[in-house]
Each structure stands twice: as C-alpha cells, then as structure tokens.
Symmetry: C2
Subunit: 589 residues, 2 copies
Amino acid sequence: MPLPEPTELLARRLAVARGDAEADLVIRGGRVLSVFTREWLEGDVAIVDGTIAGLGAYEAAETVDATGRFVVPGFIDAHLHLESSKLLVDEFARLVLRFGTTAVVADPHEIANVLGTDGVHWLIDACDALPLRVYFMASSCVPASGFESPWRTLTIGDLEGLLHRHRVLGLAEMMNFPGVVRGAPAELAKLALARHVDGHAPGVRGRELNAYAAAGIRSDHEASTIEEGRERLRAGLWLLIREASAARNLRALLPLALEYGPARIAFCTDDREPEHIADDGHVNAIVRDAVALGLPAEDALVMATHNPALYHRLDRLGAIAPGYRADVLVLPDLERFVPDLVLLAGAPVGEIPHVAVPDWVTHSMHLDAVAPRDFAVPWTGGRARVIGLIPGEIVTASLEEELPAEGGVAVADTTRDLAKIAVLERHLGTGRIGLGFVRGFGIRRGAFGATFAHDAHNVIVVGVDDEAMAIVVERLRALGGGIVVADGERVRAELPLPVAGLLSDRPLHDVLAASREVNAAVVGLGVACPSPLQVLAFLALSVIPSLKITDHGLLDVDRGELVSLAAEPRVTAEPGAGRTSPAPVTAQR
Amino acid sequence: MPLPEPTELLARRLAVARGDAEADLVIRGGRVLSVFTREWLEGDVAIVDGTIAGLGAYEAAETVDATGRFVVPGFIDAHLHLESSKLLVDEFARLVLRFGTTAVVADPHEIANVLGTDGVHWLIDACDALPLRVYFMASSCVPASGFESPWRTLTIGDLEGLLHRHRVLGLAEMMNFPGVVRGAPAELAKLALARHVDGHAPGVRGRELNAYAAAGIRSDHEASTIEEGRERLRAGLWLLIREASAARNLRALLPLALEYGPARIAFCTDDREPEHIADDGHVNAIVRDAVALGLPAEDALVMATHNPALYHRLDRLGAIAPGYRADVLVLPDLERFVPDLVLLAGAPVGEIPHVAVPDWVTHSMHLDAVAPRDFAVPWTGGRARVIGLIPGEIVTASLEEELPAEGGVAVADTTRDLAKIAVLERHLGTGRIGLGFVRGFGIRRGAFGATFAHDAHNVIVVGVDDEAMAIVVERLRALGGGIVVADGERVRAELPLPVAGLLSDRPLHDVLAASREVNAAVVGLGVACPSPLQVLAFLALSVIPSLKITDHGLLDVDRGELVSLAAEPRVTAEPGAGRTSPAPVTAQR
C-alpha cells in the first residue's frame, strides 16, 4: 500500500475544490468526458498540486482555453513490452507522450531474459524520473520454456522480490498456459505470489479456459476471434484487445464492445516497433481505429483510459474527477485522437531527462569469437526438417525437404529458398549453437542476424553462406548487440542495440534511420518476405507453434520436444533430461 | 492481503475445470447469469471445494436440477448496520439467508458507541462461524459529533487496530461530512488510514461534493434526489441506492440506472427493522422493486451482486465464473426474487450455530436509579424551543412555543401535543440528563423509551408525566436495555435488548411478537405518528437537522451548537469548551 499523501496536500486540494483557494490551473470551455457516465460535461477543470480538485466554476492563476475541444483522461496502455520499441525509456516516453499515452503497464521480460532481475530493477529505476507513468508486472516466465536459455532463470524468490518493488502491480502474462491448465506445481507456486495476474492464452477454449480462469488469472490479450473474446468475457477474464505491430486483433474483437458495452475491455499495444509508433501512433491509434469501425467515441475512450486503470487497480488514474491525477489530454477532434495538449500531473510535458546507461547493461554479449566452420552441419543427404515461414504469421510450418550435402555438410539451396539458420547462446559463453534450415525468407546471398530474438534474446542469424553468417555474428559481438546485415565479407547495414542487445541508446530519429537502412539491406540480399526482422525475432520463441529453433536446436513446439534435423527418428527429451540419439544438431566450440 | 490458498485446492479445482476430476456438485439445466455480459448462459455450473470450477459440460457426485429456473450469484448488501435488525448475528443470518443475501458489509457503529472496539471485536469474532459472509468497515465517527456521549471515543489508534482485523475492508461512512469538506485535521487523519472509505453526504452538492470526493471517499448512500445521484456518479463516487426502513431512495434514483446503465451503482439496506425484513425481504426486495419499476432484471441483479463486490474489492464474490466462491441462488422467477435454493460455498444453508453471548456485553447500563424529580425542568413560563416532528422524515423542525409552568417547572401540554423528552447518559454513570420538549408524537398519557437511540445509544424517553418516564427508565435499567412502554405506574409492554442495549438474544419470532406489543402499547398511549420508535431512535442523532436532543441538552444541528430551552438567548460553545449562560437544560443527579 502506498504511503498516504501528506495532509497539507489534501487540505489544499479540498480548499481549491470548495472554491476557497485558487487552483494552479483551470481548463476552461471544453467538453469534459465523464468516464463514469460516458457523457460530455461542461465546466472548468480545476487542478492543484497535480491533482484534479473538481469540475465546476473555478478560478486559477493560469487558464487553458479548451473551447470547442474535448478534455479526456490520458491514455493508458494495459499491456506492453517497452523493449519492442527498441528505445530507451526516456526516448520511448518522448515518442508516446506526443500521442497522449500518459501511463503504461509493462512486462519487462525481454530485459529480464538478458539481464535478470538486475535489468528489471534498472529499468524500474530508470523510469522514476519520467513524467510518463510506467508500471510493471513481474515477468512470470523467464525463460518462456525449458528449451530457451536466458542469462538466468527468474526464480520464485526473484519474482517475490520484484513484486515488492514500487510500481510493480502483479504478475505478468502467464505464458506457460499449458502448465497452468494442467496445474503444474511450478506455475501454481507463481500464482500464489500475487492477486493480480495477467494472462496469455492463445487459442485456449472451453474447459481449458475455465481452468485457466479458475487459477485466478484476470485477463487475456491473445484472443483473436470473436468467439474466443466472448468466452473470455463470460469466464470473467478481462479482454485486453491488442493491436501490436504483428498481431492485430481490434477488427475481430471490436464487435464484442458493440454488443456488450465497454465494461471489462481495454486496449493494449503489446509489441509495437518504433516505425509503427512513429508513423501511426500508440493507444490513440487504437481509439481512432475503433471509432472508425463504429464504436462510440465515449466507449472507445473509456476502454483506453478508465478501464485499464480499473483493471490494474490504479485508483487515481483514468478519469477526470475530484482526487484523480491530472493526466489530461485536450483533443481537437474525435476522429484522429491526436492531442493538442498533454498534461501530466497538471503540467505540460517539459524536458525529459536523459536516462543514464550504466556500463554493465552494455556488456550482455558473452560468446566467444565464431568462425565459418562453427556453422557447419554434418550431413550425408536425405530428408530434413525445415522451418516454414507463413506470411503474416508468427506461427511456422514444420516442413520436410531433401537437403543437399557438399563435402559432408548440409548447404543452403537458394533455388529452393532453403537458408541456414543458427541460434547462438550469448549469455553464459557456453558456445552452444542450434543449427537448422528455414524456407520463406527468399534470401539469395549473405546473411542477417539480431540479438533481439524472443524470448531469451540469444543471437539469431539466417544466411546462405557460413562466411557471411560468421561476419554478422562477429559484428554483433563488436556492437554489443543489435541487428546486422552482411553480404560477402562486408557489413551492409546495422542497427546497434548496445543496451542488453535489445535497446538503442540513440534518439528516435537515428533508430528509425538505421532501421530503414537495415531493412533495405535485407531486401538487398533478395529477401522478399514482409517484415523479415520481426519474423526473424519470433523464430526462437519456443512457445509459438510449430517448428522453431533455439540454441538447443530444432524444437517441435506442438509436441514439446527437441527434434533432429533428419526427418526421422524423433528425440523426446527436454534438455537436461536423458537424451536419445540422434541429437538435434548443435555445435559446441 | 489474505493468505494464498493451498495449492492442493487450486490443483483440484483445475482438474475439475478441465473435466479430469468429478465436481462436488453440478447445477444443471438452469439459465445462468453472466454478470460480465449481462446475459443468460446455458450449461452446468461445476462446484468443487466451495468454489466454482467452470460453466460447461460437467459431471458430479451430486446434481441440482435447475431446469426452468435462474441461477444467479448470492446477493451482497453494500452497506448496513447489523444492529438495526435488533437480532444477534446468527439470527440475522438465518433471516436474510432465506432471502438470498449471502454477504453483507457492515458498519458496526451502534455497538462501537456502546461497547467500543471491544464490542466490535466481539461482533467480528461472532460472525466467524456464520455461513453468511459478514465484512466490516471500521466505524469512522464514534461519536457522531462532540455533542454525543458514547462509552468511549474511537481514536485513530482504535481505527488502525480495527483495520488490521480480518474481514475489515476499510473505513466506514464518514458522517462528519462538514468536517471532511472543510478539511478538519482530525478527519483528514482518519482518511489517511485507508484507501477504501465509505461516504455519507446528505444534501452535499456542487463544489462541496467535489471536496468530499477529492478527499478520496469512494461512495455515498445518502443521495435522495436524481440530481444528487447524478452529481455523485459524475464526481466518481459509487452510488449506493439505499432502501432502509425509514429512508427509501430507490424510486428517486433508479432512473439513473436506466439512463447510464448499472455501472457504479449498487444496492444497500442501511437500517432495516426486523419486521421490515421478515415481512418484505432484504436485498432481494430491492431487486424486485427495481425490476417492477422497469429496470432489466439482469441490470438489477448486477447491482445486487457483482457491483457491491466490485465496489468493496471482494474479488472472489459476486459472479458465477471460474474461481469465484460458490455463493449461488436458484430463483424460480424474475419477479419475486425469493430463492428456492441458497448455496453458500457450494452447500445449502445448514444449522447455524448459536452465537455465544458473553456476560460482559449484557452490562451496558451504567446509570443510577432515577426518580420523577430527575425529570423536573425549572421554568417560569415563556417561549421555549420545541423539537417538531415531520411525518416520514428523520429531520426535525425547530419550533418555538409558549410552555406552561406549574409550581416552577415546565409541564407537558397534551392539548397542544407538547410532550417532555429526556436523554440520559448511560455509559459512564455521569448522571447527565438532557431535557426538552417535543411536538408530533400525539402522546396523551404515560411514557415510552429506549436504549436504541442513534448514535450514542443513551437512554431516550418521551412522556407526559415524570412518574411514567422514571418507570420506563427504571425498567430499562432492570432489563439491561431495550424498549419499554409505561402508563401510570405500570409497564405496558417491553422488548428487552440486553446485548449492549441494542440487540435481543431471542429468536426472530419472539422479537417480532414483543415488537408488535410494544408498538401497540405506544399506540395505546395515544401516539398517532407512524413508526414512533424509529422516529424516537433518531431524535438524539446530532448530525441530522434541525433541533435534536442529547444528554448535553437541546442541540441546534444547523448552527452546530447547544441551545437553551428558553427561545433566547443562544449558547455557542460545544461541550467541554467554555460555556455561556444560560446553559441548555440538563440535570445532574
């Protein structure tokens, strides 16, 4: 429980509310949204000490004229991963505040995989000085599964410690939904830590969904069909409608808000790329699109302000009413939802201080030098398992293809769009490399790779020749992480992400410029699939079907087991358990 | 924060939810209310270990056939004073469970005035064994004002201690609304103790209401007009619609639910007499009346189940959904709302154990013997202040009347309906008596009195002769509290309330029989005003306008000062402060 506020502040707020003292600021002449009655009210909004004192007839030293405009609470993002923006939090705040996002609830599981709780503590501390309110959920699934290799596993004790930090609201998305549903003791032990737990239950329906809800999980942001959404609402789960850069669920789920009203529905962005936010917007863009799809503006605004606050029990956020924090937007229209003015605790956004980057967060690359031979895959020919990309999806197909052998090793075959893919463990210097093949990028020469690869964020690299792959990895090592494109022996483009290999330390403009160069260079390699770097980033995520790759090798997600490159026979053990041969293809330097 | 539940329980619930284990009980064939989507669902409700596992296709050892009936969550009373029922909590539970009330949130401020925190701790403990869920709010205003004399004042430390007890949710109604609005330090110090604070703001509007809400108070149950209700919703206060025995606000406020929907509105009974509950019902009767007034049954049910749970943050109550406590009603219709079956944690209401009444709670009468002369009011004639009853209201008028004197004392005048009224301090044996006159009862002979007199529950007695008044008080002393009617030298009827002078220790049937006799006997004295004992009980409440009486004498509530019987001049001090003469009429034995 937060400390009670000093009574002097409260006494002054009451004096302003009564009209016995002057407010700091009055917003006059606008139409003011009541999130409680979903109507537009007329009156002055009086603000003192960063808090709303009342709506009515008030005087103040300073007045904002909102005549003809709309006064609404600041937008609140119910669930996101800050790291997806690839920006440091100060630069992220500068970007999203422009669009009226005044509070976010973040799951820091990207940085938690790379830097453990140390990284999360740093991130929480780094947000202290921001005018943007950044709340956190303790990352419940680090690693996402036993097939991934983070720096350290977050233990029950780690989670408990994070839950004690200020601005940590509960337990982040319980991605191990099969474990929750089957009552795995490790997952139940996590659930016992918190009363507020976010969900993540893609495709879970019927009795399994009942089990997931009965475990005490309070929401889901993975529903993608109207029937999934309807089931979640009926089961008592809050429905967080996600519009990420890859996964976009607004169009499918919005009819539920039209049918049932806005109660128990909120918006979230989950994973938005920097280009996406810069070009399109943030939570405001979801409101805009919802209204364009036919939702009354009042309902859409409630789902972007009051409802996320209610869901996360942020009692003093999300409304323009006495006692609420004065995070207020003045909107010129109810179509674009881009604010003319953003007030944070009653003040316009001023200079946002630069976040200090301590040296230790820039040393997350713990792998030895690699050479082309490290990517060699011993092979005598035959049918191989191949990861098959599916355009516009992050799920993959599990293909089987004849794989050519040259001099005892398997090689890429650009005529059949077969490229080599590798994941290199980078946290503990184990030298472990998982090797496989992928179809669908259309890559015809060179290689590209990244240290941003869900969720363990080891190095992932795709290429048609081992020399280029080695150059990519060596350059990533030199940069301390990022995204690199190489052709022949030359690095063609790069986006350095020195902070944990996840975040840039540069301004938005530089990040966008480098990102465009990197994307152009990838296209220059012949790559034809859309958003190739986003697609690449999900190929190591062990909890999304069907065939994936981690530093342990190829993984059949549907069966939950590592598999060999050779299409037969199977391997059935998790890493660490007794293995049956032939093992998945891994290299050990 | 409550202890996490044992993981074995959770594991079994998940197994039942998945269909891998049999439920304890299944409710089959009914139409099941979703409080989240406000629709009726079809499917089995599976219950295990007192908790709902899921809605769907389930098997169980035991089945309840609800074909053709309606399955809804148990009703939750958002705010009441248990003591108004005059029943011990076990008998109260037997009574209201029949009507489907499965949880209540109680402000124990009646017993707190008489027995202090000791009494509240006893009441909390006494509720432990009940199947009815009784939650408490820590009584914030004991005494209601400095003009009343409870046993002990509840200090900040007392409130803090109560807030640490289990099932205590927050701070009870902040009745000193003028103090809150003007920012009185003592009230602000109380507000700093809790994040969940009930309100009580009769007639407060506009900027004063903004101040009351800005203080962090979350609700009001005193709104009696639609405009008051609308203002409260817009100010972010929850609107608790009260249907008590005296104050009934449903008809006036229900249009708000029709206009805005049921969000942020809940029902409460506040003060219901035992006859009222027995004859008419409890929360179910409010639902019934709301539906009869045109509210959709689904909305009325949400306001009686999910909404009070949401308001009080009772996360696991108020819905039929996975993980919620199986407090479930089976209703035969959506008109009467009297359940066929009431399940508490999945089990029918069984034998409810009798609450033990410790000896010490029956010794609350600390006043010496009284004689007729103690009621003498020295008087030489002239105009006097007289409390004027207003039919159907608990506010009074402040009248001025010529008062006859006989032998140097003021006397009642039945020809002009002027009766004597006295309040005798009974907690500390101070011997303090406040004396005055009242018009409107129509009493023609004898006297009647009670120890149930808001909020300090001193002895209050009305009569036309001093002998009968003394007999009433002496009989109340002998009974250890209650209600007594006397005519001449004889006691005509009585309702003993030996527990703190507030509660009977008898079964409902006996209480109702004695209550009927008492009411008939009062009518036998010539009393013509409706509900005379309820009216009497509010005449000592120092926070309801206009002219009231406490053991300190006549009180002008509007001006907040004690006043003399003689119509002029005024006295301006609170008790304890320096007094100016002439003092209000009090006697000291």
